[in-house]
């Protein structure tokens, strides 16, 4: 008989039909039965380029369309894992605002850009390069960092044209670290903190878990360290994610990390925790010494003991002096202590801080030991942009790679533009540099600027021609980096998916430009295409006789023993076999690190770390913060992990995440201490204007007990002018308020600490 369900369906159905009958009829006839599509799936390798880590990717393709990006479990950098940016990189491939093809500036056309062909653009650039290369120093390259062959080829192009203007858009802290390394060790290279073996970690305003560079190596070794039960102290004006994960948070004033480090060093020396044998054997300039002319020179030891007593440091940094003593004792008595200085230094940063933290590590003997600071081993071939033939020695290269602000100053100061041709690759200096407007003016003054951004970002907007580079999913891609243990890793993978726009591999473009720019430059580029460059590198890997293709994690001591005894079980015997293995597994690595190679770590003079350079005749007060007027707050700008990508790309998934501390996204947040909020009459969610003499920035208030009362913390990564619908006009850019390098300052300040006024917007 009729049960409840059929009866109601009948009544309901009857009524709906009577109502929808006519409507239903006409809708039906237009629809076609759907086609039968078979579904074929396959996986392909790739290498992520959204940050210098260069993680190995596995891309799942359904009917040729990439659908999922996961981690390559064989790759030593990420071991199958993927940070927020890696997983979101798929959205750049499908970005609706990608440039369809190369465009050149043309005032006649609305919007100012007219499409152009690749051939015409390359010939134009090649002819200009040939004309310009006659006199040295007329070409500049601004690139993300030299960690993949394309950037190195661009660097080589500039070197071939006789110019040293190869600007890496590295964070100020990285540039300062290069300078410290050059002065104390006399070498260039990459310092790696072996966190996983440290048992007490002291973070000095490091932003370890918020730093946007080589995310994967830091996060994974940090997790291993915490699982091994290490004690972690974070000293910094803001709690943040790093402080949240710490056992102890010491709120110190911004830009006092260096003073705090030397305060700790003072206690280590005074209470005998300093590693005496290490200092005796491998360090010079620590004790007082007399030079051969009999002149008495005070060593760093006496300078630290004299100047950085805990009481004085406590008064400068705002921490309690008994806390400093307790942390110093904990740090000194550890088996494998390690200190990490600022990794970004977007705000209030000076080279002194990097130097002071390095000195602390030297005093604690944490250089080139397990759980200490390691100088990563290099891949067995020179960088492409190194001058041909000579060993990469410091003497012939500039003391440190120039910063983009220096380039902009130089271009704007000289009467006629000193640079005629500028390449911008995987970088967005107009957005990421605090002097963005100055950089934009400089680029406008340069007659011809080539940008390789796939999306029309802030820098591309001021370029003369934009040649959209194909993304790593669409081309053969590579990356030359180091992993958390200092092992060199070279990754390379064939194209995973078909290109979605008329874009080309920028390496091929550079080679084509070099070929067309006259034989003086062409003979520096003995390769026909990017594939040949890869083959050449693989040939060098084979000839080096070290390392192996990527494999599952295994004890590195075993490989050291084998290699020492000259025995290698390698999975390839010819270049073709190695290439096939690399293509299948995703790359090559050399899982061995030899401690005690002082000749490699300190190539200068008597292979002893020279602390003499540290000797700043400066008082602690001069390097600590200047007291701001009481109604102003110190502006502390920090990078948000999800919002800072290499090349300034903005993706909806990343904008959607925002900060893990607040459930807000698509907006720039300013953290304020509860007492300060009450004092200024602000509440959670209010919109405020942050002002100083350089401009004003809007932000939303977040009241947080995790920040000092005299500091306001604003994350960078928002406020782009161009960059597609997921970037334009979203959030605001606090970097605009930050002052940059004051030339000729002994402290070599790279970012001046600024004080800001807060105004509530109704």
């Amino acid at each position: 008989m009729l049960n409840r369900r059929q009866f109601l369906l009948g009544v309901g159905g009857g009524a709906t039909l009577i109502g929808l009958g006519p409507l239903w009829g006409c809708a039906k006839s237009t629809r076609e039965a759907p086609l039968i599509q078979t579904r074929e799936e396959k996986w392909a390798n790739s290498v992520c380029q959204l940050c210098p880590s260069g993680c190995g990717l596995r891309v799942r393709l359904v009917n040729g369309n990439p659908v999922t990006v996961a981690g390559n479990s064989l790759h030593p950098i990420n071991r199958g894992g993927l940070c927020a940016r890696g997983a979101a990189s798929l959205q750049l491939y499908y970005d609706p605002d990608r440039l369809a093809g190369p465009v050149k500036r043309d005032q006649g056309v609305i919007g100012g850009w007219a499409p152009t062909s690749w051939k015409e653009a390359i010939d134009n650039v090649a002819s200009r390069l040939q004309a310009v290369a006659v006199s040295p120093g007329r070409v500049a390259v601004i690139r993300g960092d030299g960690r993949n062959l394309t950037s190195q080829l661009l660097g080589r192009l500039a070197r071939a044209a006789g110019s040293n203007w190869v600007v890496d858009m590295k964070a100020p802290a990285d540039l300062a670290m290069e300078e410290v390394l050059a002065e104390t060790h006399g070498t260039r290279g990459q310092l790696v903190q072996d966190l996983s073996n440290a048992d007490v970690l002291l973070s000095l305003d490091s932003g370890l878990l918020e730093a946007s560079a080589n995310t994967m190596t830091l996060h994974r070794s940090f997790a291993d360290m915490r699982s091994a039960g290490a004690y972690f102290v974070h000293a910094g004006p803001r709690l943040g994610v790093t402080g949240a994960k710490a056992d102890e948070w010491l709120p110190i004033r911004p830009s006092t990390a260096g003073v705090f480090a030397l305060g700790i060093a003072h206690m280590l020396i005074k209470e005998g925790y300093a590693r005496v044998e290490f200092l005796r054997d491998h360090v010079s300039g620590f004790e007082d010494w007399t030079d051969d002319a009999g002149v008495q020179h005070p060593g760093v030891r006496s300078w630290i003991l004299r100047e950085f007593s805990p009481q004085r440091v406590a008064e400068l940094t705002g921490a309690d002096w008994d806390q400093i003593i307790r942390v110093a004792r904990r740090f000194g008595s550890a088996q494998r202590p390690l200190a990490i200085g600022p990794m970004q230094g977007d705000t209030s940063f000076q080279t002194f801080d990097a130097l002071a933290v390095h000195t602390l590590n030297v005093v604690a003997g944490a250089i080139d030991v397990p759980g200490g600071v390691l100088l990563a081993r290099r891949a067995p071939f020179d960088d492409l942009d190194a001058p041909a033939g000579s060993q990469p020695d410091v003497a012939t290269r500039a003391r440190h790679s120039p910063s983009v602000e220096e380039l902009a100053d130089w271009v704007l100061q000289s009467k006629s533009p000193p640079i005629d041709l500028c390449f911008v690759h995987e970088a967005d200096p107009v957005f990421t540099s605090p002097e963005g407007d100055k950089v934009a003016d400089a680029l406008r003054r340069i007659p011809f600027v080539v940008s390789t951004s796939p999306v029309m970002n802030d820098t591309a907007a001021v370029a003369s021609v934009v040649l959209p580079g194909s993304l790593w999913l669409e081309r053969r891609c590579d990356s030359i980096t180091v992993d958390g243990n200092g092992y060199p890793v070279v990754s390379s993978s064939p194209p995973a998916a078909k290109p979605r726009a008329d874009c080309r591999n920028i390496a091929d473009v550079v080679l084509a430009v070099a070929k067309g720019a006259g034989d003086r430059i062409a003979q520096q580029f003995p390769w026909g295409s990017y594939e040949e460059v890869i083959k050449d590198r693989i040939e060098l890997l084979l000839r080096s006789g070290v390392g192996d293709t990527l494999s599952a994690q295994h004890r590195s001591t075993w490989t050291q023993l084998l290699e020492r005894s000259g025995w290698r079980a390698v999975s390839y015997n010819s270049a073709e076999a190695l290439e096939a293995e690399i293509e299948k597994r995703g790359g090559w690595w050399d899982p061995a690190y030899y401690h005690g190679e002082w000749r490699r770590i300190v190539p200068r003079g008597d292979h002893r770390i020279d602390l003499q350079a540290v000797q700043f005749a400066t008082q602690p007060e001069s390097v600590a913060r200047v007291e701001g007027p009481d109604d102003r707050l110190a502006l502390y700008v920090y990078p948000e992990l999800t919002l800072t990508t290499r090349g300034g790309v903005s993706l909806p998934y990343l904008q959607d995440l925002g900060s893990p501390l607040w459930q807000t996204s698509w907006v720039t947040s300013a953290e304020i201490n509860p007492k300060t909020a009450v004092h200024l009459g602000l509440a959670l969610g209010d919109t405020i204007k942050i002002k100083n003499d350089r401009g004003e920035v809007a932000a939303q208030v977040r009241v947080s007990p995790g920040i000092r009362p005299d500091v306001i913390a604003v994350h960078s990564g928002g406020g782009r002018v161009r960059g597609g619908r997921y970037a334009e006009g979203i959030g605001s850019n606090p970097l605009r308020l930050v002052k940059t390098e004051a030339a000729g300052d002994p402290r070599r300040v790279r970012r001046e600490l600024t004080f800001v006024r807060i105004e509530r917007v109704a």
């Binding site: 409840r4 369900r5 109601l8 369906l9 309901g12 607040w662 459930q663």
Partner: protein, 470 residues
């Protein structure tokens, strides 16, 4: 019911005295169309708001995560609350044989039937997928309190509709014979009513049965509406008091609504002769009792929460007393207790106007009470996620306005189709009321002493001097 009811003679000139009751039905007056026009405008606004919401999605309302429920659910509880006016009051008064019920029972029952429709439709407005509303019937899960609601409300709707329709039949018969228009409609609806004693006996028995059934159903409806909230683990929802608290709140807002409705029809149709001062006075007393009862339940709930001081509950508690929802809470408290108590407790202010003013405050107060129950709990979830902020949008307010206008429109249309005061009960009252009252009074008073005086000397001392006892 009195058993020896004499058969009522067929009324010879039924409309003579009660012409005022039938006038609205037979005579059209110009103001009617103006009122309908205004109401239709309100309904149109509500309809456009709802269509906009269906096309764009629930995002046009002010609700978000975690504030998943808002004005629609408040409307649902509010309208179902008002629906208790009818059946509960008219049923209880009939059961208690209170003679003064005769003039007000029908207007109460009409409120019930008309307003339940809007209670239920507000749930449909709240659905993300209204086109799948039939799933509740075809794939219903009885374990869900929402299904208990569906069952009890549908039973309540059918029961109160029949409870409205039965006493209406004699009046429809009168209209069938006397009215000058729509006779065909009245002939169908009168179901062949001739007024024979047998028909009256059956009618009285029918009303008697329904009157007894509808009271537990009405109580069950609002208990089950409260279970929608009480059965969750949310702070200040998961409490045992919710059942009775909602029923008291329902009766409370029901009587208030009834008083307002009676005052309006009294003014509009000049029924001062039928809805007299005494009715408003008695209902005012009933309202006073309910105000105190409501205060008692509210006091009990908030005291137990405050005294228990569980942190999760206290977050919601403080958000009501001194936090973001303090204005609504204290407005509710004044509207539901302070003002009505002051007006209704003094004889000279418990006039028609006084009770109406009190009722308007109570209606607003009770809507705020539902707001203060739903929104603070939903916007302060257990986990320290960001607190939710709820700012209702024009869509929600216009749907609320639309519902009110539609309800008033239906009520007005009812008064144009059927007499709002039950004619035959008034006439029956005129004829039998005085006799029945005296019989009943005699039944209550103590029996006269037995016929002879008590025998003296049987151990009962003789009264002293005759005057001593006086």
């Amino acid at each position: 019911m009195n058993s020896h009811h004499k058969p009522m003679p067929r009324p010879t000139d039924p409309l003579g005295q009660d012409w005022a009751l039938v006038k609205p039905v037979v005579q059209s007056n110009p103001r009617f169309w103006f009122v309908v026009g205004v109401l239709l405008a309100g309904i149109a606004l509500g309809a456009t708001a709802y269509i906009h919401q269906v096309r764009t999605g629930l995002g046009v309302t002010g609700m978000n995560r975690p504030v998943y429920w808002g004005i629609y659910i408040i409307n649902f509880v509010f309208f179902i609350g008002i629906s208790h006016a009818g059946t509960l009051i008219s049923a209880i008064l009939r059961l208690a044989n209170a003679e003064w019920r005769r003039a007000i029972t029908r207007s109460a029952e009409v409120i019930t039937v008309m307003v339940i429709v809007f209670g239920v439709s507000n749930v449909i407005f709240d659905l993300g997928r209204p086109d799948r509303a039939v799933f509740v019937l075809t794939h219903g899960r009885l374990q869900s309190p929402l299904l208990w609601d569906v069952c009890s409300i549908s039973v309540y709707l059918t029961c109160s509709t029949i409870y409205l329709y039965l006493p209406l039949i004699p009046d429809i018969a009168i209209l069938r014979d006397q009215a000058n228009r729509r006779r065909w409609l009245y002939r169908i609806l009168a179901l062949g009513w001739q007024g024979t004693p047998r028909q009256y006996r059956l009618l009285e028995k029918g009303i008697g049965v329904l009157m007894v059934i509808v009271i537990p159903i009405a109580v069950s409806v609002h208990t089950v509406v409260s279970f929608v909230f009480a059965m969750t683990l949310q702070p200040m929802w998961h409490a045992a008091i919710f059942g009775p608290y909602f029923v008291v709140g329902a009766i409370f807002s029901g009587i208030a609504a009834l008083i307002i409705a009676m005052a309006i029809i009294r003014w509009a149709y000049h029924l001062e002769g039928y809805l007299k001062q005494i009715h408003f006075n008695y209902l005012g007393i009933l309202l006073l009792v309910m105000t105190l009862l409501w205060f008692y339940f509210t006091f009990a709930e908030y005291l137990t929460t405050w005294y228990g001081a569980e942190p999760v509950h206290m977050t919601v508690w403080w958000s009501k007393f001194s936090g973001r929802y303090a204005p609504q809470f204290w407005a509710m408290f004044c509207c539901c207790f302070v003002i009505p108590f002051l007006i209704l407790s003094r004889q000279q202010t418990r006039t028609v106007a006084g009770t109406v003013v009190a009722s308007i405050f109570i209606t607003i107060g009770m809507w705020l009470e539902r707001f203060v129950i739903v929104v603070p709990t939903v916007s302060n979830p257990r986990l320290p996620l960001d607190r939710g902020f709820y700012h209702p949008t024009w869509v929600e307010w216009s749907v609320l306005l639309g519902c009110f206008c539609f309800f008033i429109l239906l009520y007005v249309l009812f008064t144009r189709f059927f007499p709002i005061v039950s004619i035959w009960e008034i006439q029956e009252g005129r004829m039998n009321a005085t006799r029945e009252l005296t019989e009943r009074a005699r039944a209550y008073l103590p029996d006269p002493p037995t016929h002879e005086a008590p025998v003296r000397g049987a151990g009962i001392p003789a009264p002293a001097a005759e005057g001593g006892l006086a």
